[in-house]
Structures are given as C-alpha cells and as structure tokens.
C-alpha cells in the first residue's frame, strides 16, 4: 500500500491540514453545515463577510441558476461583527479546522473597525479582506483601483497581527496589477476570484431576474476565468495565492494548484454537495497517491509551458 500523500500547506504563518477551504458566503458561520457535515474534513473555513453593523442585504430575488453556474446578489446580509463574536465564535472556536474570518465594509474605516474588533478575538487564524463584492455599492472600488486596494490593505496590515488575505475580483482589466499592489501593501496572501459581474432578464415579465439587477456569477462556468486569474497573479507576486472558482472535484483543485495556487476554496459546490470539502480533499489525496505525488506542495505552480517549436509557423 502506498503512503498517504502529505496534504498540508502553509499560507504564510497559517498551517492548513489540507488545501481545501470553504469559501466565504457559501458556508455561513460554520454551524449550519456543521449540523451534518464534518468540518474537520476541511483545511479551513472562511466565514461570511462581516460588516460593523448587521446588514440587511439586497432585495430578493437574490439568486438565479445559469448554465453551469449561478448568479447571486445577496448584498452581504450578515449579523454584524458584534453578534458574530458573541453568537458565532463560541461554536467556531471549538471547530477542529482553521478559521478564516472574512472582513467587509464600505469606507476604509468600516474595514478597520471590523478588523480591530476581530483582532482581539481568540480562535481566529487569519482574516480575508473582501475587497471585491460586486453586490454593495462602492464595494468594487477597492479592488479595481490598484492604489486604493493598496491603501486598504496597508491600513489593515498595520492594525492586526493576523495574516491578512486580500480577496480580489476578476472584473478588472488586469488582476495582476492589483495583486502587485496588495502584495506591496503587505498582504500575506491573495484569494482569487470573487464572482464575475453578471445578469439575467426574465423575458416574460421583462424584469431583471435579480432584485439588485446585476449579481455575481459563480460555479463551474467560471473555472477557466479563475484559472487564468490565478495563473496571472502567481506570475506577478511571491505571496501564496488561494484559488477559487467553480471547483467541484479533486481534479479541479489539482488544476488550480498546478496553475499556481497554494490552496483552494470551494464555494457554490457546497450547495450542491455539502460534503464537497471532504470529497475534494479525498479526491485530491487519491489523485496524488495514484500519481505518485508524496506532497501536494510539489504541485504548486508546477505547470510547464512546452517550448514552442524552433521553426515557427509561416503564413499560408
């Protein structure tokens, strides 16, 4: 029998049992799926974006199914950082897996407020900064403008000892530029991607399907876009990249690792298969074993580009 492959990876100071995390907004505050899913199957869990105050979110409908994907316009409905610390942390603290808390807000001060409140709080392993939620006005600005993205990360970097992970949007001309800027500002890692800007129209009523008109596209449909973004970011920065977008299987996870990711997050797939974390990690282990790979770390960024043939192709 082959030895179990070593699945552990590090995101800076943060050690993960395996590289499969649950993505923010798709796993609530852990306890919901915790009722019937073994959370320790995950390398870690990223909780729903928190704002300083409870936030009502967008008008419904907030979701629509699309070809191999879904649109959502939740608009960051969340309990607010106080209720989170009071009501959700006791459960999350007992959970046997890494806890990454996702931080959001409108102006920089709100991010700062949430970050400060969480930095005091025992049991949190890292913060992920949602600079890219397309569903709140202004939310996009931070990760579409390299300067502002850098400013936000600097502001947070200086007030917490926790690892700071910047989560980027794909809805930009060059995600590599934003990545360089947040790395320079001190981000310990980069998560990519958040959802793609998308929309659907109900042709019967001639109304937008989503109450908020536009929303974010996720699921298998966006995987090729996510892989391209991860590859681009990994080519531009030295900090670890966490790949997100359309992952449903262990092979999908391998694809992200080979393209340059150090870990991955599973989002929409949780809705389809609440045990996706477990199955992706298990399939990843199985694939490594079958491919004689002793540590997933050897996969990271291992893509080889074949040299183009010496004789280029001439015009017809």
């Amino acid at each position: 029998m082959k030895a179990q492959p070593d699945l552990s990876v590090s995101i800076g100071a943060l050690k993960l049992r395996n590289p499969v995390l649950a993505a923010s907004g798709t796993f609530g505050y852990g306890s919901e799926y915790g009722r019937f899913v073994n959370l320790s199957d995950f390398g870690g869990i990223v909780t729903k974006t928190l704002t300083p105050e409870p936030w009502p979110g967008n008008p419904p409908p907030r979701a629509a199914e699309t070809a191999a994907g879904m649109l959502n316009s939740i608009g960051l409905q969340n309990v607010g950082v106080e209720a989170f610390v009071r009501d959700k942390m006791p459960y999350l603290r007992k959970m046997d897996t890494a806890l990454i808390v996702n931080v959001g807000g409108g102006p920089v001060e709100e991010f700062v407020y949430v970050t400060e409140r969480l930095s005091d709080c025992e049991g949190i392993d890292a913060l992920e900064i949602n600079m890219s939620c397309p569903n709140v006005s202004g939310g996009l600005d931070f990760s579409t403008d390299p300067r502002r993205a850098g400013e936000l990360v600097s502001a947070l970097r200086s007030i917490t000892d926790l690892p700071v992970i910047a989560k980027l949007t794909p809805n930009v001309t060059d995600v590599g530029e934003i990545a360089r800027s947040v790395e320079d500002a001190g981000a310990d890692a980069i998560s990519a991607i958040n959802t793609l800007r998308g929309m659907a129209v109900d042709i019967r009523t001639r109304r937008p399907v989503l109450g908020a008109v536009t929303g974010g596209l996720s699921g298998p449909a966006i995987k090729p876009v996510a892989i391209a973004a991860v590859y681009r970011i990994a080519s531009q920065v030295d900090v670890p990249v966490i790949g997100i977008g359309g992952i449903m299987s262990g092979e999908d996870a391998v694809e992200f690792l080979v393209a340059g990711a150090t870990a991955v997050q599973v989002g929409t797939a949780n809705f389809v298969e609440p045990r996706s974390g477990a199955s992706v990690a298990r399939e990843l282990a199985g694939w490594c074993a079958a491919s004689d790979i002793h540590s997933v770390r050897t996969l990271i960024g291992s893509m080889r580009i074949p040299s183009q043939e010496d004789v280029p192709c001439h015009p017809l």
Partner: protein, 286 residues
C-alpha cells in the same frame, strides 16, 4: 433552526409516475428522513443522476447545477418511504421525471420549519393552489394518523388551472377530510379562484375556521393574508424561494418580514429555507 437532524441520502426510487398533465408522484426510500419528517418539511434533491461510478466530469453529472426543493407530501415511517408531488416546470423537474425505479436520488432533508399542529376543537381550513397541496397532504395525514383532531374539523380548498391538476384530492377524501375544488377553467368544482371559495366559506360558517393554512402561488397567498386579517383569523403560509443551499447558509431565499400584527414595523429579510418555509401569516410581506 429546527433541531431535527438533517440527513443526506442516496435514496432509492420506489416509484416515479405521472398523475396528471405534467404532474408526477415520486416515492423515495430514505428511512431517517421519513422517520423525522413533520408536515411542512421539505427536501432538497439533485434531479440528475450523480452516481460516482461514472467517467463523466463532476460538473457534467451536476447539470443542472443546483438542488431542487420539494415539500414532503406523504410519509410512511414504518417502510421508511416518503412521497413528493411535482410539476414539470423546467430542466430539473423534466430530468427528475425521466428517472426510473431502482435508480437513486441524492436527497437532503428534512428541512425547514414545520406547520403549527392542528388541535382538536380548533377547526382549520387549508387553502392549496396547484402543487401547493403537497404539504397539506402531509398535514392532514399526520393529524389523522396521530388522532390529534377529527377529520371533520379540517377543510381543504384546492384550486388549480384545470381538473387534471387536482391530483391528490382523493387522498384527503380517504382520510375523511372534506375537499372543495376550484378550477380556473371550470372543468370541475367552483369555476374561479380558490380564494373566492375561501371568502364564501368564511362568510357562510365563520365558526368553522379557527386557523388558516395557505400554500400556492404568491397572489393566492397574498389574498389569503387579506381575508384572514379581515376575518381576524390566525394562520400560516408556506412559501417558495430560490434556494441554492436550502439549509440557511447562502441568504438567497429571503422574504421581507415584519413583526406580526405591526405591518409598519421595520422589515427584515428572513430565510425561507430555515426560518420558513412556513411563516405566520401576518409575519411575511408578500
């Protein structure tokens, strides 16, 4: 959040048959779900065949991508079976209708908040529109089975577009529950809206209804709210909502709610899958 355990089952299809135009009944073997389910619970299922011994890529097995929610219409806890009634409206339900006896369906449940039980001495009316009848089949069946109330104290008002879509009706009669039918096209029963029937019913014998349940299209439920308010009757509605997760994590399925009785109180968004699908009639803004 209910304390009933959520199970995920690879449930065997015991039967999957057409019972009306575009209308189907499916029986699934899932002992734990069937043991715990209460009237009002729903399940979240994967319509397509997702068996793992397949060389199809994971995403290809999962087309369409999301689970589909259906109310439990009947259960037999002894046999470990529960039944759903479903109408073909799009790709998911059409694929479900092609699934055969002996195949397996990935099903998550029981989910959601259940109905306020029916109690003896408190007569109720259930207003059902189309497949909205499903949870009332459960409610009537369980109530009679437990002997909690006399079948004579339950009235079902069941409306649909046409007679063929009133399937399920006979099950109430078997339980001794009175059913009054309405169809939009007049093919059977009252020719018109089921809510008109409700108004007539309440006008005729107001004491016959201490509590009102409604499940069906939104306009129907909105009208039921108004009628109940006017008549001063309490009640519950069972709602639908687009449900990516079905278990309260994604925040997609929300409906605006107010403090019951205070329609001008600040609204908050509540999850249909978790705080509902059953809500107090006066709590939701439809």
């Amino acid at each position: 959040m209910s304390t009933i355990p959520i199970c995920q089952y690879d449930a065997e299809i015991l039967s999957n048959r057409q019972i009306g135009p575009g209308l189907y009944w499916i029986d699934l073997l899932a002992p734990e779900i069937s043991r715990h389910a209460q009237p009002g619970h729903f399940v979240h299922l994967i319509a397509s065949d997702v068996s793992k011994d397949s060389s199809r890529q994971t995403w290809l097995r999962h087309t369409p991508l999301l689970r589909r929610p259906f109310s439990i219409a009947e259960r037999d806890p002894e046999k470990g079976v529960f039944g759903l009634i479903y109408r073909i409206v799009g790709g998911g339900t059409e694929i479900l209708a092609t699934r055969r006896e002996g195949e397996r369906v990935d099903v998550l449940g029981p989910l959601g908040r259940t109905f306020e039980p029916i109690r003896a001495g408190r007569p109720v009316i259930m207003v059902a529109g189309g497949v909205g009848v499903a949870p009332f089949l459960s409610l009537a069946q369980e109530t009679v089975r437990d002997g909690r109330s006399d079948p004579a104290e339950m009235t079902v008002l069941f409306g649909a577009a046409t007679a063929g879509l009133l399937s399920g009706e006979e099950k109430f009669r078997q339980l001794g529950v009175d059913v009054k039918l309405a169809t939009d096209d007049g093919t059977t029963g009252h020719h018109g809206l089921v809510t008109d029937m409700l108004e007539r019913e309440l006008a005729r014998s107001p004491r016959q209804c201490a509590y009102l349940y409604a499940c069906g299209p939104t306009p129907m439920m909105r009208r039921c709210q108004a009628i109940a308010r006017e008549a001063g009757i309490d009640g519950q509605v069972s709602l639908e909502g687009i449900m990516p997760c079905g278990v309260g994590v994604c925040m997609a399925c929300v409906v605006p709610c107010v403090i019951p009785g205070d329609r001008s109180s600040p609204r908050r968004y509540e999850r249909v899958c978790d705080t509902g699908p059953v809500f107090d009639m006066e709590e939701v803004v439809l």
